[in-house]
């Protein structure tokens, strides 16, 4: 009877160790130098042509936020952007464009977006020429992050913010484009 109990305890301990080992292997990168992969929103790689398409409105105002996981103010403003996306869903087209390394497209970028519960379409810009991409967005931009640009349905710039957006300001600018003027 005691022998049976010992076997049972040993079996339970072995099973527990196997479960722990499996959990650890799932939580850590499997190979040396590999980055962990997290579930999160799909992030689509674009080049400068893809960026050009995003900058062309399709009947609605377009809001684009350029950001990176390594950019502190970008992370700081993100909760406001998620709130804004929920408030204006269907009224504007809102995209985020990450300037992170391409190697982070399945790791740190979706991880952050997932943590933020971000639902807006997410892109990662990979270009050999930062200067051309920056110039395409705005002549007022020198490449510092974050940058948020609001485009009118005709593609012209309605508002551009270098640095952290102020929620009240950006929503007021959007309201000018999506709310009919009620004044007499």
């Amino acid at each position: 009877m005691q022998s049976l109990l010992r076997h049972l305890i040993r079996a339970v301990l072995v099973a527990a160790l196997v479960v722990i080992a499996l959990q650890v292997s799932n939580a850590q990168p499997s190979g040396k130098g590999k980055k962990p992969v997290w579930d999160g929103p799909k992030v689509t790689q674009i080049d400068i042509d893809g960026l050009r398409k995003l900058l062309k409105p399709n009947g609605k105002p377009v809001l684009i936020n350029f950001w990176a996981t390594w950019c502190d103010p970008c992370r700081e403003e993100f909760p406001d952007l998620v709130t804004l996306d929920a408030a204006y869903k269907g009224k504007i087209d809102f995209y985020t464009v990450s300037l992170d390394d391409l190697a982070d497209i399945k790791t740190y970028v979706p991880k952050f977006l997932g943590e933020q519960k971000a639902e807006m379409p997410a892109y990662l810009l990979k270009t050999p020429d930062d200067n051309a991409a920056i110039a395409l967005v705005s002549s007022e931009w020198t490449g510092n992050l974050p940058l948020t640009i609001l485009l009118k349905p005709d593609g012209t710039t309605a508002y551009l913010r270098k640095g952290i957006v102020k929620y009240a300001t950006i929503t007021a600018e959007i309201d000018k484009l999506v709310t009919p003027d009620a004044k007499p």
Partner: protein
């Protein structure tokens, strides 16, 4: 009422104009005086080489700057012998003591351990405003007469793995050879200089 509106409009125009100060290519950079990490005042004219200087806006926190630090030191070493010196400027409010124009403790240590050139501190980002600097890293190359020859990125690839257009080195080489600088400005993605509110 009209007078008040006119006054307000004039003040707004003045404010915008004051904020938009910057230096254009071909313009002359005025001599400036800023403190180094010890609090000692340093000037452009005392630091620059016979063929000029690069005013390089840096940050001890910006990951993009960190990718460039080694390259900055390499370029600084390569061109110091040719009469062009590097002058680092830290204008980030988050990295400067509020009461004094000195780096916060860990920034001071980081700069001492990282850069092989002098880094000055721009309390209140007054100098950054004057030049119109917005990003780190961001370079302003002036020749021996303080004329702005190049403004912008160091090269086209922050990772350093695929540099095809080393903007800053090319500008130096052209200026040193007495040739026209083909590309006098280029932008690249970087960190926003953290300004006072």
């Amino acid at each position: 009422m009209k007078r008040a509106i006119l006054f307000f409009t004039a003040m707004m125009v003045f404010a915008v104009a004051a904020n938009a100060q910057s230096i254009a290519i071909g313009g002359t950079m005025e001599n400036f005086s800023l403190p180094d990490g010890t609090g000692k005042m340093q000037t452009l004219d005392s630091l620059k080489g016979k063929n000029g200087a690069v005013i390089m806006f840096v940050s001890s926190q910006c990951p993009v700057v960190k990718l460039y630090n080694e390259r900055m030191n390499e370029i600084a070493a390569d061109y110091a012998a040719k009469g062009i010196t590097f002058i680092g400027i830290n204008s980030n409010v988050t990295e400067i003591e509020k009461a004094e124009a000195k780096p916060v403790g860990w920034v001071k240590d980081h700069i001492a351990a990282t850069y092989k050139f002098t880094v000055l501190f721009d309390k209140g980002n007054v100098f950054a405003d004057k030049l119109g600097a917005t990003t780190t890293p961001e370079a302003f190359f002036v020749n021996g007469s303080n004329v702005l020859m190049y403004h912008g990125a160091i090269d086209n690839d922050k990772s350093g793995a695929n540099i095809t257009t080393p903007y800053l080195r090319t500008a130096f080489d052209s200026a040193l050879a007495g040739k026209r600088i083909e590309r006098t400005s280029a932008n690249a993605f970087g960190c926003t200089i953290k300004r006072v509110e």
